[in-house]
């Protein structure tokens, strides 16, 4: 799509772009539907259960049925809620979640925007979703929701900092914020040239911070069901609730794709002799591994406590990621510059 994106904007081009957007939305929704199915199946197997198997063959339509149920459910807004904000929050959660996907490159030629500040764009937009959670928690006029929203605000702020700093090393190595250039910088040769080994510290910090950003176990404090019942979305039902859930899974997609791009060499094959396999397949494989890893963690770990979470974020992850930036810079200065 590369050259085509920079063509002048005519009515025809605008229509095609719009259609591409719709197609992409369909792909993302399809991913979310089957990511939920996959998650329930995988966790079910890990927990000696079968998982969904009633609706459709192998339960494949379970999520479809669930979403349908949410769609036809009565739309309730608590009487004392702040109506405007209450309605705004789910949309505000979803819009940035979908918007960040635009910068992710899938192969050499398949991408939706070639932004030279791609990474920055991602980080900046994903921060807006926090706002939606806080607004949702506040507008519900429910104490549990408020606590969940506040926790979420604290958590997101604390973890966005190490998340961003942990990728600074990658940016230094590739010399660009453009995600396509970052992938290209990892090209050639074997898989140990990908960023995850040279940037192992950054990679680990990134994964931890990413799980926290996703609000998933062991960092799912904003919706800790054993303490806060359901956290910030306790008053939401029907399609508004579905939108919160949807944006959460869209972020799973986004983070898995971003990790693949930043650390796992994007569409590149792990060994030179495997180059004949199309890049998109490598991308999907790596992507699926990350998604599986996220689900696997959920089945394994207990939840961390709020103060421990803050402590980990500020006292461990932040210094470690700063150290990583320092080490990378020293390495570049000593070995690469000359």
């Amino acid at each position: 799509m590369g050259a085509w994106l920079s063509e002048p904007l005519t009515w025809g081009n605008a229509l095609v772009m719009f259609l591409w957007g719709v197609v992409f939305l369909g792909i993302v929704l399809g991913f979310v539907t089957y990511a939920i199915y996959f998650e329930r199946k995988v966790i079910g197997w890990m927990q000696l259960r079968i998982g969904p198997n009633r609706v459709g063959p192998f339960g494949l339509f379970q999520t479809v049925a669930d979403i349908l149920k949410l769609l036809v459910k009565e739309d309730t807004i608590p009487r004392k809620a702040d109506r405007f904000l209450f309605i705004l929050a789910p949309a505000l959660a979803y819009v940035p979640a979908f918007s960040v996907l635009v910068v992710l490159p899938y192969t050499q030629n398949l991408y939706f925007a070639d932004l030279n500040v791609g990474l920055l764009y991602y980080v900046a937009l994903s921060g807006i979703s926090t706002l939606a959670i806080v607004i949702g928690g506040w507008a519900s006029n429910n104490k549990y929701a408020l606590l969940g929203g506040m926790r979420s605000a604290a958590q997101m702020i604390s973890y966005e900092v190490p998340l961003v700093i942990s990728v600074v090393g990658v940016i230094l190595l590739s010399g660009s914020l453009n995600l396509r250039d970052i992938v290209e910088a990892q090209a050639g040769g074997w898989f140990w040239n990908w960023n995850f080994l040279p940037q192992i510290i950054g990679f680990v910090v990134f994964i931890i911070a990413a799980v926290s950003e996703l609000n998933r176990t062991p960092f799912d404090l904003p919706e800790a069901e054993s303490e806060l019942v359901a956290g910030y979305h306790v008053e939401y039902s029907g399609f508004r609730f579905a939108f919160f859930m949807l944006s959460e899974y869209v972020y799973v997609y986004a983070i898995a794709a971003l990790t693949t791009v930043l650390f796992l060499g994007g569409w590149h094959a792990p060994a030179p002799f495997l180059d004949f396999v199309p890049g998109i397949l490598w991308f999907l494989l790596k992507f699926a591994c990350i998604v599986f890893f996220l689900f696997w963690i959920r089945a394994t770990f207990p939840r961390i406590r709020v103060d421990q979470l803050m402590g980990l974020g500020w006292k461990v992850l932040l210094p470690v990621s700063l150290l990583n930036v320092f080490l990378t810079a020293v390495y570049l200065e000593l070995f690469i510059k000359n």
Partner: protein, 366 residues
């Protein structure tokens, strides 16, 4: 200066982690609790009052519904009280059956606790593992007395059903299986850094406080007080078997966790010996008069239930019904320390501490 207010938060009776319909009203300053008031009684059914109009055999099913996670020990405390009053002789085989089901019940009860406690702390999978293994015990009980939860198994003077053929072999097979699974649990959970950070040093109190508040069971032993009624005042056949009473040192949630896991191990040890010594023949019911009328007077007996010291006080006027019946329920007594423990803790620790007490609301409210 920002104006701040305390937040009055109502936790329960419909809350996923209060284990039933227990309710606690907490005042929060940020996330720190400044005051906690437990509110109970949502499951009160007036068991003790109802019992005054029932004869003793009819009361037994009501005891099932008190601590529904450990119905066998509740059965036992009632029939044991009546038997003590009447001075009845229990056949050896019946006594063995009782002991075996009580120890299996202890294992099952601690498994429920283990699973739900980890669920409270946020780990989902252990819950299902624990229930898988508990299911085996429940199935064995089902085979024995046709019920999975409310057994109504014991009678004054013995037990209702003898073990069906092959049942004892299944119990024998279960013991090594469970021992293996326990190791697996230890590997899966006990070393988890997040889990340890969540429970170490949380909900700490000392031995003097525990005794002052009348705590019992793991809640008392975690402070290092060596008090297990199976050892201290042996009832049933416990003086015949070798087992240890696990003790803690720090009196925190971690010690309670370790003690309960260790108690499963010790129960399996008792079971192993009991299954070996199980008498070949014999009656399952002793010689009991047709109408059970304990002589006028009072009796108080106490035994070690999985949750602590469960007692039964009967006042009899020589009739078929008790004049007054009172149960000392360990869950209820163990809860008394809760408001004091919770002050200064966070909302998250509330769940950790409440879960660590191991309450069954059916027993708290009776």
């Amino acid at each position: 200066m920002i104006r701040t207010e305390e937040l009055l938060l109502n936790v329960g009776p419909q809350h996923p982690s209060t284990h039933g319909v227990f309710r606690i009203v907490v005042k929060l300053d940020g996330e720190v609790i400044t005051e906690a008031t437990p509110v109970m009684g949502y499951l009160h059914r007036g068991t003790e009052k109802i019992a005054e109009n029932l004869n003793f055999t009819q009361i037994i099913p009501y005891t099932d519904r008190m601590d529904y996670v450990s119905a066998m020990t509740n059965n036992y405390v009632l029939v044991h009280a009546v038997e003590t009053m009447m001075g009845l002789e229990i056949p050896l085989r019946a006594e063995f059956m009782r002991l075996i089901v009580m120890e299996m019940q202890r294992v099952a009860s601690h498994l429920v606790w283990w699973g739900t406690y980890l669920l409270d702390i946020g780990a989902m999978s252990p819950f299902l593992y624990a229930f898988r293994d508990r299911e085996i015990i429940i199935d064995l009980f089902n085979e024995l007395c046709g019920a999975r939860l409310t057994y109504n198994y014991m009678r004054v003077g013995g037990v209702k059903w003898d073990a069906p053929p092959g049942w004892m072999d299944k119990v024998r097979d279960f013991i090594p299986y469970m021992e293996k699974k326990l190791q697996e649990y230890d590997k899966l959970v006990s070393g988890n850094e997040i889990f340890l950070a969540r429970i170490k040093g949380i909900g700490q109190y000392d031995a003097a406080t525990a005794i002052d508040y009348g705590l019992s069971g793991a809640n008392l032993r975690c402070t290092g007080v060596d008090w297990d009624l199976r050892k201290a005042e042996p009832y049933s056949l416990y003086d015949r078997f070798e087992f240890d009473v696990p003790l803690g040192t720090r009196g925190d949630c971690y010690d309670r966790y370790r003690i309960r896991l260790e108690e499963i191990k010790q129960s399996l040890r008792i079971l192993k010996q009991a299954v070996e010594q199980f008498p070949q023949g014999g009656e399952t019911m002793g010689k009991v008069p047709r109408a059970i009328r304990p002589p006028a007077g009072e009796v108080y007996v106490r035994i070690e239930s999985p949750r602590g010291e469960i007692g039964c006080h009967i006042v009899s006027k020589g009739k078929a019904e008790p004049y007054r019946l009172k149960f000392r329920r360990p869950s209820f007594v163990n809860l008394q320390l809760l408001p004091k423990l919770l002050v200064g803790e966070t909302m998250t620790n509330l769940i950790t501490i409440l879960g660590g007490v191991d309450i069954v609301v059916g027993e708290v409210d009776c």
